[in-house]
């Protein structure tokens, strides 16, 4: 009985061996490869890269395999690896206006320069389970056309030319971008840190927070100005060479929300922005992020802060699923020392209650 509450090195080792065994599952079934995960579970890889804040498909696929498909566990694996990596510097800002677009839709205009491009999307699929897929199915080759050469300017830039939407704040070349993984976060936090927090934030949490703004908890009248997904170049300014060198290209999803106006006696009314950006194809994430980003700008835009999604301490302190899952799951660690202390107190209080309720005590009280 005394043994039952104590751990033991061998127990831990055996548990880990059993875990590895369960991870592999039935060994008569072929083992899944990293390439299979990366190619066939691509959106899971995208999510792990985004919330793990590390753009590496192979490592993300490994994390998903190691985590038995538990994406939050996979994100945690990637984050712990990332934390040990040296920082060489910051890339130049990526220009999503020059993105090689695979998908691009706007809900605000029927047609836009560069066109609406549906690309690979679940939208408009009928959600009927497909028995053919269970057997393995070689899909039809996709329809092709000549590569689109016309530029695809951002819809918000088109609105911006007429002053209908607020300007994005101009880049301050001298200022470094905040990094909450390197500096402790203080409140109130600037938008760069808020966006970083949201980009790393849990998709489910942001979805619920964004949804709450649509249902009236911090409503901000959103329209999808544009969602675009595709490849962009990443460049690093090399001090030695004196110019920016290309590092490679990454896939990004960007969502620009167009929201209700601001304006004042001295300023003409204009639409306001909410912004979402994530690695890979992550539309639900970037749309939710854009809604929450806009909600968190309440203070800056002089709106009353009343709803949870507008409260930056609430949102930023609870958005990180690695933090949240650690603290929730730590409740399964032993707490018997504190519990014993509570038991002692509760027994004492109950004893005093019982003593006070006995007939003797009642008589004394009556006298």
């Amino acid at each position: 009985m005394y043994v039952a509450v104590k751990g033991g090195e061998r127990a831990i080792e055996n548990a880990h061996r059993l875990l590895a065994h369960k991870r592999r599952g039935d060994q008569s079934v072929p083992e899944v490869t990293l390439a299979q995960i990366s190619e066939q579970l691509g959106l899971a890889v995208d999510r792990v890269m985004s919330e793990g804040s590390l753009y590496d498909r192979e490592l993300a696929a490994l994390a998903i395999k190691q985590a038995r498909g538990d994406l939050i566990e996979a994100i945690f694996l990637v984050r712990a690896f990332r934390a040990t990596m040296p920082r060489f510097g910051s890339s130049e800002p990526v220009d999503t206006g020059t993105m090689r677009v695979r998908r691009r839709v706007s809900a605000t205009f029927k047609d836009i320069p560069g066109g609406q491009i549906l690309g690979p999307t679940f939208d408009y699929t009928h959600r009927l389970l497909d028995p053919l897929l269970a057997e393995g199915l070689a899909p039809e080759a996709p329809a092709t056309a000549d590569a689109h050469t016309a530029p695809t300017p951002r819809v918000t830039d088109i609105l911006g030319r007429d002053g209908l939407i607020e300007c994005s704040p101009p880049a301050d070349d001298g200022a470094s971008v905040g990094d909450l993984t390197r500096e402790p976060l203080n409140f109130p936090a600037d938008r760069d840190l808020r966006l970083q927090n949201l980009a790393r934030g849990d998709e489910g949490f942001l979805l619920a927070m964004g949804y709450s703004t649509q249902r009236g908890y911090g409503r901000n009248h959103p329209f999808v100005g544009e969602i675009r997904f595709g490849e962009v170049e990443v460049e690093l300014f090399a001090e030695d060479a004196g110019f920016a060198v290309p590092l490679g290209s990454i896939e990004l999803t960007e969502c620009q929300m167009v929201n209700q106006f601001k304006g004042s006696a001295t300023e003409a009314p204009c639409f306001t922005r909410g912004y979402g950006l994530a690695f890979g194809q992550s539309e639900r994430k970037t749309m939710s992020m854009a809604l929450v980003d806009r909600a968190l700008r309440a203070r800056e835009l002089g709106e009353e802060v009343r709803a949870p999604a507008q409260d930056e301490e609430f949102v930023m302190s609870h958005s990180d699923n690695v933090q949240a899952t650690g603290f929730v799951e730590h409740l399964k660690l032993p707490h018997y020392v504190d519990f014993q202390s509570e038991l002692g107190l509760l027994r004492k209080l109950r004893q005093e209650f019982a003593d006070a309720s006995t007939p003797d005590a009642m008589k004394e009280a009556a006298e």
Binding site: M1, Y2, V3, V5, K6, G7, G8, E9, A11, I12, D56, E58, L59, L62, F76, R79, A80, F81, R82, A83, T84, P86, L180, T181, R182, E183, P184, L185, N186, F187, P188, E313, S317, V322, Q323, T325, G326, F327, V328, E329, H330, L333, P334, H335, Y336, V337, D338, Q340, S341, E342, L343, G344, L345, K348, L349, E352
Partner: protein, 294 residues
């Protein structure tokens, strides 16, 4: 693929320097919570990442490390953290409180008195003693700055009004160096007096909440109370069933489903040390002990 290669005690030197700066500031302002850029560690938040980062930052090759959880060296998480440092730093480990130079702990302070050449590193879940009275960090930082602790005293008073006692049994708030109200981490209040005027350096690391705080050696630590309701440490009134100790904090072990209980020291090193020097309790024929450590 990038093969992971890790530094001594896991963290890179830059991160260690950042943590050491936070520790030095914490020592200079006893009880004040210093924000630091906590890293993601390879164990979950809430499982001791703050303590692990503090330990990693102060550990040297000559150190002897002891890790306890709930007072015990052989609870699963204590074993896991001890193995982590044995692997990443190659330091000597021990279960003997006296031999350790660095002791990382969760929820207990060892029974054996600490000495000047030791550092006690606490794992802290919620560093802010005012958090459950005021959820906003911006507010609680202001309250600390102004030493505005009335709310805490009102809470303790309301406990007395409702229950007849201060209804805080663990994480019992203390005032450090007559200035900052501090959360001692979720240690039972039995351990609070050990923090006062302690010869060892006490460091507190909260990884998820990104805070480090400290009690320098020989610093005054007072548990909050009222003149007519003085602070009382709680201990179950029984000797340890294994070593007979009358003054150690006890774990309650449920032995059957008919109300059977036994009470044994939560500090396993202390209990084993006493048994080795001939102390016995009512159940110390000791088959339990061998099973527990076999």
């Amino acid at each position: 693929m990038n093969a992971p290669a890790y530094n001594f005690a896991y963290l890179d030197e830059q991160t260690k320097r950042m943590i050491r700066r936070a520790i030095l500031k914490a020592i200079a302002i006893p009880g004040y919570q210093v924000p630091f850029a906590s890293r993601e560690m390879p164990m979950p938040y809430g499982w001791g990442t703050g303590g692990v980062q503090v330990t990693a930052a102060i550990l040297g090759p000559e150190d002897v490390l002891k890790v306890i959880d709930q007072g015990s060296d052989d609870t699963t998480n204590a074993i896991s953290i001890r193995k982590f440092f044995a692997k990443t730093a190659g330091v000597a480990t021990t279960t003997a409180t006296n031999e350790a130079t660095v002791i990382q702990t969760r929820h207990r302070i060892p029974e054996t008195a600490l000495h000047e050449n030791q550092v006690l590193v606490y794992q802290v879940p919620i560093p802010e003693p005012l958090r459950f009275l005021e959820p906003r960090e911006t507010e609680t930082r202001r309250m600390h700055a102004l030493a505005e602790y009335g709310l805490m005293h009102v809470k303790l008073y309301e406990d007395i009004a409702r229950f007849g006692h201060i209804a805080t049994a663990y994480a019992y708030p203390v005032k450090v160096n007559a200035r900052y109200v501090m959360d001692p981490s979720p240690t039972p209040k039995f351990d609070n007096p050990k923090m006062d005027n302690c010869p060892a350096l006490q460091l507190f690391g909260a990884g998820r909440e990104k805070r480090i705080y400290a009690i320098p050696p020989y610093t005054q630590v007072v548990s909050l109370d009222f003149e007519d309701h003085p602070f009382e440490p709680y201990r179950f009134n029984a000797p340890c069933a294994l070593c007979g100790a009358e003054n150690s904090y006890l774990d309650e072990i449920v032995t059957d489903d008919k109300g059977g209980r036994m009470f044994v020291c939560s500090d396993t090193d202390y209990c084993e040390g006493r048994q080795a020097t001939g102390h016995h309790g009512s159940l110390s024929a000791a088959p339990y002990k061998e099973k527990a450590h076999g």
